[in-house]
Amino acid sequence: MVDMTADTPLISLQNINKHYGDYHALRNINLDIRQGEFFSLLGPSGCGKTTLLRTIAGFEDYDTGYVTITGRDMRGVPANKRPTNMVFQSYAIFPHLSVIENVAFGLRKARMSKADKTQAAEAALEMVGLKGYGHRAAHALSGGQRQRVALARALVLKPKVLLLDEPLSALDRKMREQMQVELIKLQREVGITFILVTHDQEEALVMSDRIAVMFEGEIAQCDDPEVLYRNPKSKRVADFIGVMNFLPATVREEDGRYIATIAGLGETEISEAQCPGGVPVGAATVGFRPETLTLLYEGQSATHREAPAMIDEVVYYGDMTYYDVRFDGVDHPARISMRNIFGRDVLAVGTQARVNWSPGALVVFEQSA
């Protein structure tokens, strides 16, 4: 038994590899998840995030590596013997049982009286906002209610880790946003480690303490949401999280300083911190978020640097307007988002505009990465 000190991770994945036939589903996964963390596995469909979650739950085998939970090697430990519980994507509510029977399902072997079990199940239902729903039939529930039942059913067992497989993807937008907030609150309340699988980057950013972005069975980057958004390590991660504009550039080194020549924007010095994937001397790609640029109106002068651009497309969102602009000498448009402050007109398509950009907000990538 490994000693559980404060900095021992709750879950540790070491060098996990898994093949389905010729298909390499998980590649060299190394990951430590801490006690009490809200952790997300984010990636497009087929990236292996669900496989990884099921590996932790005990539903998938792996070819190499170790999964340890609270320091204990989980190889050969079946799902029913692991200190994890899962909320399935389909919620997997037992249709032949009532709501309260569903919630109490896992308590069969618990050493407590029947009355205590019922009470525990009712308390779990109350926690997820379904007080008084115990005797309803499972099939009479709405999608959101089913999800709450699935949550209560898992939480009543007080697992070390709660695994959530795309739990919000079947809900409509309003319900989803409401559940996001409720899940965060719930996680803080119970203090259990949550691991969430999602393909929705917004959801991951909103809910998580840390996010692992996965592509093709590999973890591309694992960081907290702010670092992930501001300093993505590769173009691919940058593109997956939020919107990122890319411009071709070249980087050269001069007396220990790095100078980038960016198409449409001109020359600027960049710092090493702006290159999370390492400084790419030579051909490079420069990325910037839509909100780091502003359009300059008549009479306004640039706070940082200024570049001329042509407005290609205008998308009006009420509180925001998105402008697709084309910098001189660049053939693809870049997106700029502007808050619609009272008294500020929406500019028309075809307007020749001036763009205020700040060199510090750029992120520099290798051209191909």
Partner: protein, 281 residues
């Protein structure tokens, strides 16, 4: 007035013959084709008091009950295997293979059992060649055992199919959820798979039980004198003894017994599948 073809079909082929049988059961036969149509309960009195009819009825219930039990118990593992153990792309092939016995006529299959179970049949001569037997076994044909064996074989696919369909409908994530919530494979089977398969099992029970209780070909061919069932008596009353009203009475009584048993099974199946859950909000 427009009458839908379905209603017409049901009326002509189901309702009218049924009504005729019920009606005749209250008459008295006076000649080969002559009936006294005065309403009488004499047939029912005779059918319910004569120990011969009671014995035949009880034997029919026993035989079809055993056939149903054996068939469903054997069909469940087969259906379970095809649903859970066979790759999805091979399932329809397996189901197709299971229905192959249906390609030959029912009569031929019954005769085949005669060939297998007979005094000089495949089983006896086989066991003699191997040296396990000195004298051929005589208790395996022309008795109730042979009837049960033959019927159980004939109805096996009827039992496999509904159970298979019920098992196929079970969302596999429910089984994973049960494992995840701490239950072993066995407990998952008992707490999730079995209750959810209950409607299929009930369907299988009814599909086997209802026709076997009225079967008369099999007891006639392999049952011998001790293996006769109520349907054989009904046939005898109609065709040999010229007592159609008594035959009709026996048919109505058998039908009522089957109906009561079927309703009980339907209610039990509905309970197991959680059909009653949620009524008390």
């Amino acid at each position: 007035m427009l009458v839908s073809p379905t209603a017409l079909y049901a009326l002509l082929l189901l309702a009218i013959p049924l009504a005729a049988v019920v009606l005749i059961s209250f008459w008295t036969q006076t000649g080969v084709r002559d009936f006294d149509t005065t309403f009488t309960l004499a047939n029912y009195k005779e059918a319910l008091t004569d120990p011969l009819y009671r014995q035949l009825m009880l034997r029919s219930l026993m035989v079809s009950g055993l056939v149903t039990l054996i068939t469903v118990l054997l069909a469940f593992p087969i259906a379970y295997f095809v649903s859970f153990g066979v790759k999805p792309e091979h399932k329809s092939l397996w189901i197709f293979l299971i229905t192959i016995p249906f390609w030959t006529s029912y009569l031929i299959r019954v005769f085949l059992w005669k060939v297998i179970l007979g005094y000089n049949g495949v089983l006896n001569s086989g066991l003699k060649v191997v040296g396990l037997l000195e004298e051929p076994l005589s208790f395996i044909l022309y008795n109730v055992n042979a009837v049960i064996l033959t019927l159980a074989h004939a109805y096996a696919p009827f039992a496999i199919l509904p159970i298979f369909v019920a098992l196929e409908k079970i969302d596999r994530s429910l089984l994973e959820a049960s494992r995840d919530l701490g239950e072993s494979r066995t407990m998952t089977f008992l707490r999730v798979t079995l209750p959810l398969a209950a409607p299929g099992v009930v369907a299988a029970v009814l599909i086997v039980f209802i026709p076997t209780i009225g079967d008369y070909v099999t007891p006639r061919l392999v049952g011998g004198p001790g293996g006769l069932m109520i349907a054989n008596m009904i046939q005898t009353q109609f065709l040999r003894l010229n007592n159609a009203p008594l035959g009709a009475t026996l048919a109505v009584i058998a039908m009522l017994i089957v109906a009561v048993i079927a309703v009980v099974f339907l209610i039990l199946g509905n309970r197991a599948a959680g059909g009653k859950k949620g009524g008390r909000t």
